[in-house]
Point group: C2
Chain length 475, copies 2
Amino acid sequence: MELLIPLDPQEKKPLYEQIYAHIRGEIRSGGLKAGDRLPSTRILAEHMKISRSTAQMAYDQLLAEGYIEARPYRGYFVNPVEELMETGPAGGEEMETALPEPSPWSVDFSPRGIDLESFPYGVWRKLSRNTLVDDNKEMFHSGSHQGEPGLREAIRSYLHSARGVLCSAEQIIVGAGSEYLLMLLAQILGGGRTIAMENPTYRQAYLVFRSLGYQVCPVEMDENGMDPDQLKASGADVAYVMPSHQFPTGIVMPVGRRQELLKWAADGRYLIEDDYDSEFRYRGKPIPALQGMDRSGRVIYLGTFSKCIAPAIRVSYLVLPPKLLKRYREQAGFYASTVSRIDQNILYQFLAQGYFERHLNRMRAIYKAKHDLFLEAIQPLQPLFEIRGEYAGIHILLTSRTGIPEETLIARAEAAGVKVYGLSGYFIHPEHNRRPGTIVLGYACLSEEEILRGAGLLKECFLGKPVGGDADLVR
Amino acid sequence: MELLIPLDPQEKKPLYEQIYAHIRGEIRSGGLKAGDRLPSTRILAEHMKISRSTAQMAYDQLLAEGYIEARPYRGYFVNPVEELMETGPAGGEEMETALPEPSPWSVDFSPRGIDLESFPYGVWRKLSRNTLVDDNKEMFHSGSHQGEPGLREAIRSYLHSARGVLCSAEQIIVGAGSEYLLMLLAQILGGGRTIAMENPTYRQAYLVFRSLGYQVCPVEMDENGMDPDQLKASGADVAYVMPSHQFPTGIVMPVGRRQELLKWAADGRYLIEDDYDSEFRYRGKPIPALQGMDRSGRVIYLGTFSKCIAPAIRVSYLVLPPKLLKRYREQAGFYASTVSRIDQNILYQFLAQGYFERHLNRMRAIYKAKHDLFLEAIQPLQPLFEIRGEYAGIHILLTSRTGIPEETLIARAEAAGVKVYGLSGYFIHPEHNRRPGTIVLGYACLSEEEILRGAGLLKECFLGKPVGGDADLVR
């Protein structure tokens, strides 16, 4: 049987995903029927002038999701679609992240993406070659539970110089992503904790704490961040904060407020400082970490390489105050590291040989350029919208001065083919949103052209049309 | 200052660890005093004819542990030793695994090690190069939460053919090690569970469950494994078992007993089947997994690549029954995968291109040869010792027929420079040990020469001396 699969080399999605998506579409639409035989990977590869492993990867995904089956000595056959529904594709999130559908949007201002165009792939390849040279067999033996000493020292020295974090490498625990480290932290802190979170906040962290059985108290923020009186009233014994650049509001917590929080924590409580994107600041001095001000050992510092290197490398780190370090070793020291020694060594070289710093500087310049371009392009919105969270991070906030509700803004943008994100989505209880007409716009993974096109479309749909006349757009 | 560091190229420990260990020794012994300046990495490297990065790694570890400090523009200086004691090396396990001290033993029969001499490093290098080729940028974007579909399909197909596991790739969750997957499982099953464990068992799993707040009931075993009556009486709603090759007893659970356990689980309970080393069986057919017999969706299958590939790659997998898969997606589906996409792709190629199967066959032959050699060498112990757990796995058990207590056996062996492990160490409550005179002997990472030497020494100290006359040795 012949397959005619249109491939778009410009398309960001890799070839095997395009092939996968096409065949899956054919099966869903009935173009391919149960029992139909697919061409062998060899035929498909020759026929489409692609590598055989690309064809194999596409088939593997169809197999994985149950769309086709492999019969020994016979080939690949389409499964009946009814059966699929039970063991069908995973619910929501999971498969979406695995296989992004072709975006229906002309421009998607997702706050989640990061720019990987300028990642030093060549360097990473070189470092991984260096790590796997013959005399490095010990890389395959299990290593330090906390993380390789060399990597922890490199992280310590970076945190000290760039973030003003005061710690020894002994206090650092390297782990496979911030979510895992929060799981580990929960076992160190002990169950049944009540945790205060900024509202709005980083929802993923909220989901983790909830799933770990923590009682979560959302605490309102003023222009300086988490409200200390509400915090005291909350009865929480742990607070999760992002003082250097709160997500999503972009609020920077001033020294006074930081001291109030440290005072709150001083008697037996803890502050978790999530410093997720502090590397990116485009104006003024970088803001040192809260951890550096802590004299009573109450701050737990959480950092990640997901934003500043790449999400897929899965390396984050905790800096524990001495008291919790002791408890970690007594209660959770038996857990082996979740990051492979090979990856730790690649990252170690990336940091120790200065590549990380160069990469950060390059990305800071790239993001600043995108940020400046975007801000300038949306200036015409100033009269009708407050523009906030600028000069740092990789997203901004637009708040309607004329009280246009969030849903209307989103609907107008969508009608223009632009995906924007309502602030309510970041509230633990959306009804707590006291900034009705606010949308969040991320620009990290957009090209200059996309940024300008997106800004143009936003101007059209936010300025071009009368506030009243959008009933037809809301649909 | 000149450093004379004796390096042993034969020594398994990498050069940088030898340098690290020597300097640390000098500092501890006072040979190097607080404030002493160490040579620069460049000088040290030239002086010792080693690469500069090797020297740097050694210094980084000394820095990480606080033995030395780096002063900008001046160099590396020895720290006062008093201060070290506070932020000194980590307690127990952690640093041990990081930096194994030179073993004091002539032969160490550790059951934990695996043989990495025959690992196909070249293949692994090649596959990681293939993964990092330019057109694979998507490897750096975050991927499927459950694990890459291609890898899951490769695992499914391996489990189906090699272990008789019946599942779709959709039921598989890939994670950074079994301990992490048990943490995740605990969130899927929900807290406050009571879990039954074989006694003796894999203590690491016991520590995880305890640390997760599970109530653990140790359940005695007869020659067929976990006692079903005690299990029923325990009131547990989950049981953790190793039916194919129980650790450490080596017991293989027969079909009848498996059915009893499945019957127990059938109404609302769960069995966690840890199939940690079933790949290694040297006689008879491989024993299919319990999961394959499960008709009511009550078995959670746990597998790992730590034993059959390498501990440091940190990849394990869970196979969830449909009901728990649904709950996973509802309650824990938001957790991103803890294994980097790059590593998943390397492993995917290793499996899909047949390297894994070849590697398993090679290792099976290597371990069988070591096993046969060891068994033959200790045959003379037969009259005085029962030898159990053979024909599978990578360790055996010796039980004294004359009632010599465990401690005495260990003491005698130690006096002869041989490290052996008492069975009591694997009991949740050592006092439950009903096989007093039993020791566990692992041979995976020993060379033929070490195995023969170790067997010889054991014969000497177990046969050579009269049972009574060992008071002096027990000290």
